[in-house]
Symmetry: C2
Subunit: 250 residues, 2 copies
């Protein structure tokens, strides 16, 4: 992990860009956190998931989440997804996305095969990368634990919650296509979950989201459904999610 | 409205029992609230709904909700429901409850007619009483507004939200039988709503609860579903509900 740039935001949050091999990422730490382990206690970490639109495009929303989390005493970090941003394209995923877009524009049903082709390779490739990022982040003296995962492609979050024991709580956004196989995998998730659903999400099958919530094996899971479309998550929903992480990571 | 008893709880909350005609009730005001209007600003009010089991039986849960609300600066009040506690029984409702219990114990379906017979007369009789209580409570110098309604028989809450303009926000518990007619009435509700659902509520039809949430006409409505049965609402769900009222009543 190599830091490539560093800046203090106006609220004192330290933003550092890094590369992990070929993968770019960003780490935000609260003003209070210090790289000198003796100066302050290491802080918990939340991994910030995001849709595969590229870190640059997602930056405004990511930095807003990072600032809110920093105010609660959390470090946050994110990495570029495979095939997004400046990373090499994944031809199969590009094809799957084009097929899916064409079907939706033509008003045709989105088949299970299209969803599988779009999501499953992304999960397979991304999850080990997030785990490698976690190794590197947890080796920094200012980052302690526990670790949470928040948002982004829900199937990546599900797989991470199943395979990565260092993640102890997850906030999911039920707003993306979910392969059928992930419903089975969801039964193996046992960590506390906080699931956001936009009730009128135009690109999302509400019943599928409710079925997925039902499938999670976690003893503590909460579904917070709010009005509005995919990008209309109300501000108070973010505050409820922050409280969820405060309950489980502090 | 006549106060019949008064005591300070250990956290400074003032608990006063009252009667409104033949109807017993309880009013809780925060330690800071004063009957001398000049001494402190009047506080917002939350009406505490409850199931028709009698105020005496419900007291422990009601006083816990009242203390939490008082800590947030809210007065709370509740009245005995028609046919409950020491109030005269309603023979038709008793019959309906017996029929319904018999059907459930026999594993038979609960018919729409049984639910209507149980709930609709209760709504018809209770709602004007809660409105009369609101008149009396808002005439006290220490009680200002705005007014919220929280919990209890959801059909009473729906009707109150439709007919009582002084109620500006409501927290509902989707855990009781709901007459079909109330789904239509739900479309007329326009105030902000916070709806709690216990995902595994043994006495509750989950799909009906989701349909009811969908039916509400409110532009701002949130569904918070948590694991567990009817009485297993987690403590953090109460905290989220408290924040909802803080957003809308302050």
């Amino acid at each position: 992990m190599h830091f490539t740039s560093e800046q203090r935001l106006d609220d004192g949050v330290l933003e550092r860009e890094f590369t992990l091999g070929e993968i770019p990422g960003i780490l935000w730490t609260p003003a209070s956190a210090s790289a000198s382990a003796s100066a302050s206690a290491p802080v918990p970490l939340i991994l910030l998931g995001h849709p595969p639109l590229g870190l640059r495009k997602m930056y405004p929303r990511l930095v807003a989440r990072a600032r809110h989390s920093a105010a609660e005493g959390f470090a946050t970090a994110t990495i570029e997804l495979p095939g997004s941003g400046d990373r090499p394209r994944l031809p199969a995923a590009e094809q799957a996305r084009a097929d899916l877009r064409r079907a939706m524009e033509a008003g045709e049903p989105v088949s299970d095969e299209m969803v599988d082709a779009l999501i499953l390779p992304l999960v397979e490739k991304a999850v080990p990368e997030w785990q490698a990022a976690l190794d590197a982040l947890l080796s920094l003296p200012e980052i302690g634990g526990p670790v949470g995962y928040s948002g982004g492609v829900i199937s990546i979050g599900i797989r991470l919650a199943v395979v990565e024991p260092r993640i102890v709580a997850a906030g999911f956004f039920a707003g993306s296509f979910v392969p059928r196989a992930m419903f089975e995998e969801a039964r193996q998730v046992t960590i506390p979950l906080h699931v956001l659903l936009q009730w009128d999400d135009e690109g999302n099958d509400r019943q599928a989201a409710l079925d997925l919530f039902d499938a999670f094996g976690s003893k503590e899971k909460s579904l917070h459904a709010n009005m509005g479309g995919h990008t209309g998550v109300p501000q108070f929903a973010g505050e409820d999610a922050a409280q969820f992480f405060t309950r489980h990571l502090k």
